[in-house]
Symmetry: C2
Subunit: 283 residues, 2 copies
Amino acid sequence: MRTPAQNAELALLLEVAGTPKPGNVDRHRDLEGLRFEHFLAGTVGARDGLELAENGSAVGPAFERAIEGMAEQGGGNTQFGALLLLVPLVRAARNDLSQPIVEAVCEETTVADAAGFYRAFDHVDVFVGEPPTEMEPLDVRRGSDAIPALEDRSLTLFDVMDHSVPGDDVAREWLTGFERSFTAAERLADADGPLTDRAASVFLSLLADRPDTLVANRRGEAIAKEVTERAGELVERNALETDRDAVEAFADELVERGVNPGTTADLTAAGLFIALEREAISV
Amino acid sequence: MRTPAQNAELALLLEVAGTPKPGNVDRHRDLEGLRFEHFLAGTVGARDGLELAENGSAVGPAFERAIEGMAEQGGGNTQFGALLLLVPLVRAARNDLSQPIVEAVCEETTVADAAGFYRAFDHVDVFVGEPPTEMEPLDVRRGSDAIPALEDRSLTLFDVMDHSVPGDDVAREWLTGFERSFTAAERLADADGPLTDRAASVFLSLLADRPDTLVANRRGEAIAKEVTERAGELVERNALETDRDAVEAFADELVERGVNPGTTADLTAAGLFIALEREAISV
């Protein structure tokens, strides 16, 4: 039987292999400078950090280690957001992978966990928007330089996530007991066919539910809304079954426009992990 | 820096992601009942066995553990041959990943290692041809039931590999100091472009060099020879650069005919590992 860390690795691999996953690297698409192989190497590199979480390490240090390993490839940030979801989920799976348990894991994080999170930014460039002026000393782009400010204000990692909502739907999972991740897991279990097809279908449904926050931060809310509406139309008419070419064309168009719904991919990976770990899906 | 076990995992992933890889599962092709996701799960499952080898465990037990984990997915045998090459290579990498060292690792295997190899067949169905009558008690398909016969004859794992040549080009690597695996690594380093493209190109060149022994055992030597000659024509006219459609068509044709050059894929994975481990290629 696979361990939680192994299921997390497999979830990352199945997520990137799902196709068509409009706008993102998938089994059939590479982006300029960010290719399928970078995600494979990122997954292998994240392993030690995932094992730390499985073995009971605190969330912050396990996350930092996962990011340090993930970043040892030439594509840059491949799975930062996905790992920010997977590390607490793996930690929860030691006990029981339920919403209340993962909620408790997040709420019990400390200032030291927040420091680990900030140190993770020293290893890789992650796209984030400008913080409000009063939060400038805590800008994550400062990496470990922001740790004294963090300590001054006694902010835990949960507090940091709390400050990131709204505007970051990965952080939102931390505040809502991983609501959308668990929904994704249910949808994966209810879907039919190979897991890579299910991953693509659940990705599209998540994209239709809410505008992707990475797209909103990078390209503006209007584009994020447009993408969600178009995903909604495709889901509405069950296009993956009835008109796959339309989904493939949408996927190609977003890649060409450089519109990458990365947050939705992170949620898909989290859903895959939950469904694998609960044996609601199998390979 | 990735450990040898991590590089072995990455080699397995890059191998299956290489495309077009005529006749095999690749980034763009699934076979009936054997899909891309089975190779992803097989890779994740093989991890513990690869770590045993990295930590100095004997080859036989590490191999058995790798196969046991690999087999925990519904596709059946995904990477048996590749792991039979990777486990001694990972073991050698503890010291120095050179031909003489891996040769020594193989020559120093014991009867207990051979028993581990036979036990691996208890975990998964592997296609092998009929053995000659005098070898019937040692038919690998007997799995652990053959261990007493093995012990009676004091056969080491190296001896077992020696008895498997000719007719098995994975075993042949054990006898030749992994000659073709090291050649593959050099070709990977000399090639250009993303590693998944290089993997496809080196796969085709290896297929052109010698008939694939899995194809020969399953489908007969005439078909194995035909496939190698056609691969040779494609390599000769540099078709991956000048006429990619011809290689894609050849790949589709072999998949349709159920002709799967699995031994050549195993050698490609071994070459990827060597090249990664020696930092002759990078992701």
